[in-house]
Symmetry: C2
Subunit: 199 residues, 2 copies
DNA sequence: GACTTTATAGACCGATCGGTCCAATGATGA
DNA sequence: TCATCATTGGACCGATCGGTCTATAAAGTC
């Protein structure tokens, strides 16, 4: 109900943290973005760090929802599902003029050493994403798109890392090419291994 | 000669930026770490951002030297060379109690959208790293450790991204396991593809 | 309608931010 | 010996930082 103000603060902060980083965003910036006042802010949150925790949780929910929608898309094979995910990410990078990045990864990079509560939330979110990738891989293996003898858990972790790194590169090069590279990378190592054994 | 003070500023800033980020490090922090004074700082650098550029260049030189030493190690095959690189990175993470990360990647994540000069320097450094990985891959292909039909340039970019991502994960999980995962990932996709086709 | 709780506005706080300025000091060469 | 110029120390600047406080307004509750 009266969560509207609290939600507005979290949403505005999530956007600003993603584009200007946590430390680069002042409490006043968030107030300006929401039209609320300081009294309101500190009524809902005891500190900026506490808001950071709420932001981390919200970003986790959002990213998880987006990844699930792509990676578990009905009537689609593994390569197509991955393409869906990467296209969505690429579109988001272009839309923000390459100022964004992974909502979890960027926060993690900055806050892991600064706030242990936030670090823990983000670590949890990343585990969920890896699990999602692992399930995508296993589905692909069942469908025959990915060789069944490959270790899904290791590959999932490696693939998650590759996507994170591609986002850093995308931001630095101001290009979506690194995200396409991931697709080619998978085509060469995961899918093509399969194609190389046609019998 | 009298570059000592300038060098001290760059080195101290490089260390602090890596652990506390650029925006989390005040000019006064750097002065405290070096024992120098504000007059000295602004004699050598017109602004904090200008120091940031110098730091980016220095980190590029350092990382490039380390990667070259590992990936072009004499009398070593591709898997061993990669292991050398990843072990070095893992050791550095543990030594800093997981507060560090890739000197280029962390700066890039934070500064790419904030300072175009710094962004450009880091983009350049990343290109060099990718070229280094590509050469490592081609050497491995010549030595027969990696299937010759794989596209070295695409794999190099993907692998670079995976290492970056593993560093984010390592920092967030406070563990070196993600770096070991990269090794297993390569073993499963690059090296083992080869082993899977024994004939 | 009286009373309590929740929510909001915004003045204010000390600390710190990046940056300026100038006087003092060091070294160099004529 | 003197002039020159690179280097350093540190007081100082306005702006902003995260956070506190009090007064008020709105929303329930009986």
């Amino acid at each position: 109900m009266n969560e509207t103000s609290r939600d507005k603060l979290i949403d505005a902060a999530a956007l600003l943290f993603l584009r200007q980083s946590y430390q680069g965003t002042g409490v006043e910036d968030i107030l300006r973005a929401t039209g609320l006042s300081k009294g309101s802010f500190y009524h809902f949150f005891p500190s900026k760090e506490s808001l950071g925790e709420a932001v981390a949780r919200r970003q986790q929910d959002r990213v998880l929802a987006r990844w699930t929608a792509s990676l578990q898309k009905e009537n689609a094979h593994a390569p197509e599902r991955l393409a869906l995910l990467l296209d969505g990410i690429a579109a988001r990078m272009e839309k923000t003029d390459f100022a964004a990045g992974c909502p979890l990864g960027t926060l993690a990079q900055e806050m892991a050493a600064l706030s242990d509560p936030i670090r823990a939330i983000l670590a949890d979110g990343m585990t969920h994403l890896e699990k999602l990738l692992e399930r995508w891989l296993r589905d692909g293996q069942e469908q025959g798109d990915i060789p069944a003898d490959l270790p899904a858990d290791t590959l999932a972790r490696g693939l998650w890392a590759a996507i994170q790194g591609a986002l850093i590169m995308s931001k630095t090069r101001r290009s979506t090419a690194p995200l396409d590279d991931i697709r080619h990378f998978c085509a060469a190592t995961l899918f093509s291994c399969n194609a190389a054994r046609p019998d």
